[in-house]
């Protein structure tokens, strides 16, 4: 038999097929698991419907109340018209600054195994529009505190003593309400047609005469509800709701009552509701990343300078640790087209002789470096990766030390160049997004050096395995208006994490940003092209590190980048042509 030289090809050619009948058996098992998963989810959602239905939300309860009134006034239900009208109720609700409700589970029967609460348990809720807050405190100690304007929900879990903070992305079209009354009215249309039967009667509540509205309806999903709303005929405000629900398909029934009052104020934060001050706060979702119009304006000159950067150039960048160059990148840029080559030197320079040899070959000029990179490309036994963006598609080819090429499938990127590394813009004009987590600031450094500063806050990064990849971080970018708004300095502040630690074991505040720098990257030498374009010629990075015992060491020089730029060059023929990339068989 033939010798196996091309392992990769040999590997790819090794075939596997499957038995069709077994294929179906296995798929059916997977499908079963999927269906069981859905059933399990349904169990929960059933409980969500019954225990957390909108109707049990005090705001929605009042909506129903208004809806009932509308139905009555419109004459769609043939019963006696109540003694008070919609306007009276709307005015009464509008005047209520806060609505407070205590919901309690009073009866429970049927398939109750998965009940999230027992008889006598429930929750308290508060709602206001100014400020826009929705709050729930459950009898098991869990607290939900939602600031609707910024879509932020803080959830206190008493078992772990952790407050999880979640942010929901706000859309610009999200509705906001000026008052509770507006909110109810806006929601009215949605539920107007849900009711089958509405009953109106006089009654007594806490020794006082009241009006009782009863609604009876069955949803398409088989949830049958009978809702009674007790209304004070003098103030026109709901005083009590009683909700009986039966999920017919699941043999599950429950009855909850809600008692309402209308205080002048409500809880201001989650701690006022009983969350301990020492509870650990964990931010587990991204903050609002909507565009910030003020920042768009503030960043206009920077972005213009970024767009007007010289577009035809070859840029060679060295990465130097200590006295040795670790990596060399070569970027060819012509308009929207770009080719980026990544030449790792480390590993191919082992002995002192090697070091001297490569330093001589590399030289210290643009031409010697370019020649070195071209020779490197043809040399054996070295890693190399080449990225090409042709203005629409992105291509990547990688060579391993065995000189085997991997060609990745091309990807369409019609809007922008996805490479974005090691080009002029990356080094001097990185993308600063005008999002809400970025603010324009002034500090001593910016004032003393006549620079414009933008601060960006990043939330803690928690990995999928529950480990902390990075605590909260602050970056400050300093832009120099006298040098084409180049970003001349970038500071980073964050607590150093080594190797990722279990989130439950974290003893410090994830959101705390230390005052001390963890790293700083700055331009230590500037260059200028023939047409006056500034560019960073030398960039230094100073970072904190750890000693052998795992203790942080002070900032020290960790990396030097030297940039060799040639503008408007004569590009090698076909350098941007993806067809000229090596093939897998090469």
């Amino acid at each position: 038999m033939k010798q196996v030289d091309d392992i990769k090809k040999y590997f790819k050619e090794a075939r596997i097929t499957t038995n069709e009948s077994k294929d179906n058996d296995v798929f059916n098992k997977i499908l079963d698991a999927a269906n069981k998963n859905k059933t399990s989810a349904n169990k929960l959602s059933t409980w969500r419907i019954i225990m957390k239905t909108k109707i049990t939300n005090i705001a929605a309860a009042a909506v129903i109340f208004i809806a009932v009134m509308l139905i009555l006034q419109n004459g769609s239900v043939n019963i006696e018209t109540p003694a008070f009208g919609l306007d009276d109720i709307a005015t009464a609700i509008q005047n209520a600054e806060w609505i407070h409700c205590t919901m309690t589970l009073e009866e429970l029967s049927g398939n109750t195994d998965d009940s999230p609460m027992g008889i006598g348990e429930g929750w308290e809720s508060w709602q206001s529009v100014q400020p826009s807050l929705s709050i729930e405190k459950h009898s098991n100690g869990t607290i939900y505190f939602t600031e609707e304007d910024i879509a932020k929900t803080s959830i206190y879990d008493p078992e772990s003593n952790i407050i999880n903070v979640k942010y929901k992305q706000l859309s610009d079209s999200q509705e906001t309400y000026a008052s509770i009354s507006d909110m109810f009215t806006a929601q009215f249309t949605d539920i107007k047609n849900r009711f089958d039967k509405v009953k109106y009667e006089e009654g007594v509540f806490e020794g006082q005469p009241v009006t009782i509205i009863s609604i009876d309806y069955t949803s398409e999903g088989g949830l049958h509800s009978i809702i009674s709303i007790v209304v004070d005929p003098e103030t026109y405000l709901p005083k009590k709701t009683c909700i009986q629900q039966a999920f017919l398909k699941k043999n599950l029934t429950a009855k909850m009552t809600g008692i309402y009052d209308y205080p002048k104020s409500g809880p201001v934060d989650i701690y006022e509701l009983g969350a301990p001050q020492d509870a650990k706060v964990v931010v587990i979702d991204s903050i609002d990343m909507r565009d910030n119009p003020e920042l768009i304006e503030a960043l206009t000159p920077y972005n213009k300078a970024r767009e007007n950067l010289v577009s035809d150039y070859i840029l060679i960048t060295t990465y130097q640790y200590g006295s040795s160059v670790h990596t060399i990148t070569v970027t060819y840029n012509q308009g929207r087209r770009q080719r980026s080559e990544y030449h790792p030197v480390w590993g191919s320079v082992n002995s002192e002789d090697d070091k001297i040899g490569y330093k001589e070959a590399l030289g210290d000029s643009f031409d010697s470096m370019l020649k070195w990179s071209q020779d490197y490309e043809n040399s054996k036994g070295k890693n190399l990766s080449i990225h090409i963006y042709d203005g629409e598609y992105y291509y990547r080819a990688e060579k391993d030390p065995l000189d085997e090429w991997t060609i990745n499938e091309k990807q369409q990127w019609p809007d922008h160049n996805p490479i974005g590394l090691n080009d002029l813009s990356d080094w001097g004009w990185p993308n600063i997004l005008p999002k809400n987590n970025v603010t324009k600031i002034e500090n001593d450094y910016s004032r003393e050096n006549n620079l414009i500063a933008f601060e960006r806050i990043l939330e803690p990064d928690i990995r999928r395995d529950g480990k902390l990849a990075c605590a909260a971080q602050k970056d400050i970018h300093y832009l120099d208006p006298s040098r084409d708004y180049m970003c001349v300095r970038k500071e980073q502040f964050h607590r150093m994490i080594r190797g990722g630690i279990e989130i439950k074991d974290v003893e410090f505040d994830l959101n705390e940003i230390p005052d001390e720098l963890s790293s700083v990257r700055f331009v230590s030498e500037f260059g200028q092209t023939d047409n006056g374009q500034w560019y960073p010629k030398k960039i230094e990075k100073h970072s904190k590190r750890w000693d052998a015992d795992g203790k942080e060491k002070p900032l020290s020089l960790s990396l030097i980048h030297t940039l060799y730029l040639k503008t408007n060059p004569e590009f090698p023929e076909g350098i941007f042509d993806p067809n000229n990339l090596p093939k897998e068989d090469d």
Partner: protein, 181 residues
């Protein structure tokens, strides 16, 4: 990639055809990865089935912008790594046993049917260390870059490249000795 996002989106909304498409799209690749890592068709079939079952159970937590193939491949590799570590506490299999495990693939009741070439590779792979085996399998079969594998294995890229380089050399020697027999 876009297709995967659409399939996950559809499956999350209850479309079983989308699940079938995902299953058919990646089944063979996952089986092949599992077989070259274990040389044990029974284990490979179990692992792949488990990975799909786990995938459907955790579908709500899977983000559609992720790389589905990489997710599934990594799941297979990690499960095998865990199993092999468990097995390593017990007496190791002899060559004879390994051969027997693969000849089981001729059984018509088997799910996976292997070509002779794949059987040779699988057998040779068992003779190189687990880390090297995982790196080679994920790179060649999983189409993962060294950087991605380094992330999965929580190791440096240099280490992974070393695993790959040494593993490939050994594998080449083993395969050549096998094919010239």
């Amino acid at each position: 990639m876009l297709e995967d996002k659409v399939l996950i989106f559809k499956f999350k909304r209850g479309c079983n055809d989308a699940l079938r498409r995902i299953y058919e799209k990646y089944r063979n690749d996952l089986l092949k990865l599992a077989i070259v890592m274990t040389n044990d068709i029974n284990t490979a079939e179990d692992v792949v089935q488990d990975v799909f079952v786990n995938f459907v159970r955790s579908i709500d937590t899977i983000k559609p912008h992720g790389n589905l193939k990489q997710y599934l491949m990594t799941s297979v590799a990690n499960r095998i790594k865990n199993r092999l570590r468990d097995i390593s506490r017990h007496p190791t299999c002899s060559d004879e046993n390994l051969d027997k495990q693969l000849t089981d693939s001729d059984n018509p009741e088997r799910w996976a049917i292997l070509s002779e070439q794949l059987q040779l590779i699988s057998k040779a792979m068992t003779k190189i260390p687990l880390d090297q085996r995982q790196t080679i399998a994920l790179h060649l079969q999983g189409d993962m870059t060294f950087r991605q594998i380094a992330k999965v294995q929580d190791a440096s890229v240099n280490t992974i490249q070393g695993h790959y380089r040494y593993g490939i050399k050994k594998l080449r020697t083993l395969l050549n000795s096998e094919v010239t027999k």
